[in-house]
Protein backbone atom coordinates (compact mmCIF):
# COMPACT_ATOMS: atom_id res chain seq x y z
CA UNK A 1 0.00 0.00 0.00
CA UNK A 2 2.91 2.34 0.63
CA UNK A 3 4.02 2.02 -2.98
CA UNK A 4 0.65 3.33 -4.19
CA UNK A 5 0.99 6.43 -2.00
CA UNK A 6 4.52 6.97 -3.33
CA UNK A 7 3.26 6.70 -6.92
CA UNK A 8 0.41 9.18 -6.40
CA UNK A 9 2.81 11.73 -4.84
CA UNK A 10 5.11 11.31 -7.88
CA UNK A 11 2.19 12.02 -10.21
CA UNK A 12 1.37 15.15 -8.23
CA UNK A 13 4.94 16.37 -8.71
CA UNK A 14 4.60 15.69 -12.45
CA UNK A 15 1.39 17.71 -12.61
CA UNK A 16 3.06 20.61 -10.80
CA UNK A 17 5.04 21.23 -14.01
CA UNK A 18 1.86 22.58 -15.60
CA UNK A 19 1.41 25.02 -12.72
CA UNK A 20 4.96 26.28 -13.23
CA UNK A 21 4.75 26.64 -17.03
CA UNK A 22 1.08 27.25 -17.82
CA UNK A 23 0.65 29.97 -20.41
CA UNK A 24 -2.53 31.35 -18.92
CA UNK A 25 -4.46 31.42 -15.65
CA UNK A 26 -7.15 28.73 -16.42
CA UNK A 27 -4.42 26.17 -17.15
CA UNK A 28 -2.98 26.72 -13.70
CA UNK A 29 -6.38 26.52 -12.00
CA UNK A 30 -7.14 23.20 -13.73
CA UNK A 31 -3.77 21.76 -12.70
CA UNK A 32 -4.38 22.96 -9.13
CA UNK A 33 -7.70 21.12 -9.09
CA UNK A 34 -6.02 17.91 -10.28
CA UNK A 35 -3.28 18.14 -7.61
CA UNK A 36 -5.93 18.73 -4.92
CA UNK A 37 -7.92 15.62 -5.84
CA UNK A 38 -4.70 13.56 -5.88
CA UNK A 39 -3.82 14.68 -2.34
CA UNK A 40 -7.38 13.84 -1.23
CA UNK A 41 -6.81 10.26 -2.42
CA UNK A 42 -3.49 10.23 -0.55
CA UNK A 43 -5.30 11.30 2.63
CA UNK A 44 -7.87 8.47 2.31
CA UNK A 45 -5.15 5.86 1.71
CA UNK A 46 -3.11 7.14 4.68
CA UNK A 47 -6.20 6.91 6.89
CA UNK A 48 -6.56 3.24 6.01
CA UNK A 49 -2.81 2.64 6.42
CA UNK A 50 -2.60 4.05 9.95
CA UNK A 51 -6.04 2.55 10.79
CA UNK A 52 -7.44 5.69 12.45
CA UNK A 53 -10.92 6.91 11.56
CA UNK A 54 -10.23 10.54 12.46
CA UNK A 55 -8.19 11.18 9.33
CA UNK A 56 -11.20 10.57 7.05
CA UNK A 57 -12.76 13.74 8.44
CA UNK A 58 -9.66 15.65 7.35
CA UNK A 59 -10.12 14.32 3.81
CA UNK A 60 -13.80 15.33 3.72
CA UNK A 61 -13.17 18.85 5.02
CA UNK A 62 -10.33 19.31 2.54
CA UNK A 63 -12.55 18.20 -0.35
CA UNK A 64 -15.22 20.76 0.50
CA UNK A 65 -12.72 23.61 0.77
CA UNK A 66 -11.01 22.66 -2.50
CA UNK A 67 -14.33 23.14 -4.29
CA UNK A 68 -14.82 26.53 -2.61
CA UNK A 69 -11.32 27.56 -3.77
CA UNK A 70 -12.00 26.74 -7.42
CA UNK A 71 -15.35 28.58 -7.37
CA UNK A 72 -13.88 31.74 -5.83
CA UNK A 73 -10.92 31.77 -8.24
CA UNK A 74 -13.19 31.38 -11.26
CA UNK A 75 -15.44 34.19 -10.07
CA UNK A 76 -12.80 36.78 -9.18
CA UNK A 77 -9.93 36.22 -11.66
CA UNK A 78 -11.54 38.23 -14.43
CA UNK A 79 -9.61 40.91 -16.23
CA UNK A 80 -11.17 44.25 -15.27
CA UNK A 81 -12.01 46.58 -18.13
CA UNK A 82 -10.69 50.13 -18.27
CA UNK A 83 -12.45 52.29 -15.74
CA UNK A 84 -14.40 49.41 -14.29
CA UNK A 85 -13.58 47.98 -10.89
CA UNK A 86 -14.60 44.36 -10.48
CA UNK A 87 -17.58 43.41 -8.34
Amino acid sequence: MVYFILAIVLFAILTFYRVMKGPSVPDRVAAMNAIGVMFLLVLVLLSLYFDRKVFLDVALVYGVFLFVNVLIMAKYFTKPEKGEVGD
Binding site: I5, V9, F16, R28, V29, F39, V68, N69, F77
Partner: protein, 77 residues
Protein backbone atom coordinates in the same frame (compact mmCIF):
# COMPACT_ATOMS: atom_id res chain seq x y z
CA UNK B 1 9.36 3.25 3.49
CA UNK B 2 7.34 6.06 5.01
CA UNK B 3 10.56 8.07 5.38
CA UNK B 4 10.98 8.23 1.61
CA UNK B 5 7.47 9.68 1.19
CA UNK B 6 8.18 12.15 3.99
CA UNK B 7 11.43 13.35 2.41
CA UNK B 8 9.79 13.63 -1.02
CA UNK B 9 6.98 15.74 0.41
CA UNK B 10 9.55 17.98 2.14
CA UNK B 11 11.39 18.54 -1.17
CA UNK B 12 8.07 19.29 -2.89
CA UNK B 13 7.26 21.79 -0.12
CA UNK B 14 10.53 23.63 -0.64
CA UNK B 15 10.02 23.72 -4.42
CA UNK B 16 6.52 25.17 -4.00
CA UNK B 17 7.68 27.81 -1.52
CA UNK B 18 10.54 29.00 -3.74
CA UNK B 19 8.23 29.06 -6.77
CA UNK B 20 5.76 31.21 -4.85
CA UNK B 21 8.45 33.70 -3.88
CA UNK B 22 10.34 34.05 -7.17
CA UNK B 23 7.53 34.15 -9.72
CA UNK B 24 6.67 37.36 -11.55
CA UNK B 25 2.88 37.31 -11.60
CA UNK B 26 0.86 37.77 -8.43
CA UNK B 27 -2.04 35.55 -9.49
CA UNK B 28 0.33 32.63 -10.14
CA UNK B 29 1.68 32.91 -6.62
CA UNK B 30 -1.85 32.88 -5.20
CA UNK B 31 -2.76 29.79 -7.24
CA UNK B 32 0.28 27.97 -5.81
CA UNK B 33 -0.83 28.71 -2.22
CA UNK B 34 -3.48 25.89 -1.87
CA UNK B 35 -0.93 23.33 -3.06
CA UNK B 36 1.37 24.48 -0.23
CA UNK B 37 -1.51 23.99 2.21
CA UNK B 38 -2.29 20.52 0.86
CA UNK B 39 1.31 19.36 1.31
CA UNK B 40 1.30 20.67 4.89
CA UNK B 41 -1.94 18.74 5.58
CA UNK B 42 -0.38 15.48 4.35
CA UNK B 43 2.77 16.11 6.42
CA UNK B 44 0.69 16.70 9.57
CA UNK B 45 -1.24 13.48 8.90
CA UNK B 46 1.99 11.50 8.55
CA UNK B 47 3.19 12.96 11.86
CA UNK B 48 -0.02 11.64 13.56
CA UNK B 49 -1.62 14.99 14.39
CA UNK B 50 -5.27 15.25 13.27
CA UNK B 51 -6.03 18.54 15.05
CA UNK B 52 -3.45 20.71 13.27
CA UNK B 53 -4.33 18.95 10.02
CA UNK B 54 -7.99 20.04 10.18
CA UNK B 55 -6.94 23.56 11.22
CA UNK B 56 -4.49 23.75 8.32
CA UNK B 57 -7.09 22.47 5.85
CA UNK B 58 -9.61 25.09 6.95
CA UNK B 59 -7.35 28.09 7.40
CA UNK B 60 -4.41 27.93 4.99
CA UNK B 61 -5.94 25.91 2.17
CA UNK B 62 -9.38 27.47 2.47
CA UNK B 63 -9.96 30.89 3.89
CA UNK B 64 -6.59 32.62 3.33
CA UNK B 65 -6.69 31.92 -0.40
CA UNK B 66 -10.23 33.29 -0.65
CA UNK B 67 -9.24 36.53 1.10
CA UNK B 68 -6.13 36.93 -1.07
CA UNK B 69 -8.09 36.41 -4.30
CA UNK B 70 -10.76 38.94 -3.34
CA UNK B 71 -8.10 41.46 -2.29
CA UNK B 72 -6.21 41.10 -5.58
CA UNK B 73 -9.43 41.64 -7.51
CA UNK B 74 -10.19 44.84 -5.59
CA UNK B 75 -6.81 46.37 -6.42
CA UNK B 76 -5.13 46.59 -9.83
CA UNK B 77 -2.92 43.72 -10.82
Amino acid sequence: MMDIIFNMLMIFLVITAFFMVFTKDISTAVIALPIYGAILVVIFVILQAPGPAIAEAVIAAGLTTVFFVITINKTEY
